[in-house]
């Protein structure tokens, strides 16, 4: 493979990693918002007295829910979101390490290519 092709390949791979990173960061942010919203609901539920009925919005209809069931639902959702956050954060770290390696690869490929260029000019 010519040095120029190698350089182009490495550049493409690096850009793909950047795009993956952007997507992962966006996912992490979305999960963060969901986490705070669900924690708000959880605190709200903890203040509930027996007279406070809980309703869930299903389409245009408010359907009465069992308090205990609603609390369990929110807790399960919270656990799921926390798990997802851990997963995405590990993903971000992984992409970061790969990005650093790719950057080093790019610098090496570019130096080699430039050396070759200068050698061709001044044989």
């Amino acid at each position: 493979m010519s040095l120029q092709t190698k350089l182009q390949n490495v550049t493409q791979e690096f850009q793909k990693l950047q795009a993956d990173m952007a997507k992962a960061v966006e996912a992490r942010e979305r999960l963060g918002t969901q986490l705070s919203e669900n924690e708000l609901v959880k605190t709200e539920f903890e203040k509930l007295e027996p007279l406070n009925d809980v309703y869930k919005l299903i389409g245009p209809v408010l359907v009465k829910q069992d308090q205990a069931e609603a609390k369990t639902n929110v807790n399960t959702r919270l656990d799921f979101i926390k798990g997802e956050i851990k997963r995405v954060e590990a993903q971000i770290k992984d992409i970061e390490t790969k990005s650093e390696l790719k950057k080093a690869e790019y610098i090496a490929a570019q130096t080699a290519f430039e050396q070759q260029q200068s050698q061709q000019v001044s044989p």
Binding site: V41, E44, L51, N52, V54, Y55, L57, L62, Q65, V74
Partner: protein, 147 residues
Amino acid sequence: MSGPQQVNLTDLDLAQLADVRKQLDEELTHLTSSFQQLKAVQAKFRNCIECVRELKGGQSKPVLVPLTNSLYVPGKITDAESVIVDVGTGYYVKKTLPQATAHYNAKITYLNTNISALEEAIAKKQENMGSLINVMQAKVQEAGAKA
């Protein structure tokens, strides 16, 4: 966004200053828009509190319930002592009037902390923008004097 750079504004040339100014502009627009959004949400909550207040003592009051934008049916308030409040993620909770008012007041206070933090950030950015523009004007004058 890159971390804070302790670069002297006077060290930068006009082109770089223009870049920094553009960046500050974008940040300022973004902060101001967030600020307005928070204020709007606060206003909605205040509106909710007002509605709850109006509901008080409305037991068996006749009302008109909208079915569409131009179609209403007459009805009566059966329970003027409780309302159903949106608490987030699709859940709604039936609360008494004082509970609902307390809930909305708590939300408004929570937003206030965020709003004051935003106000501080906006003031700082505007300060930065001011000094940047001063430096830019000085540079332009300098360049004009040299020419």
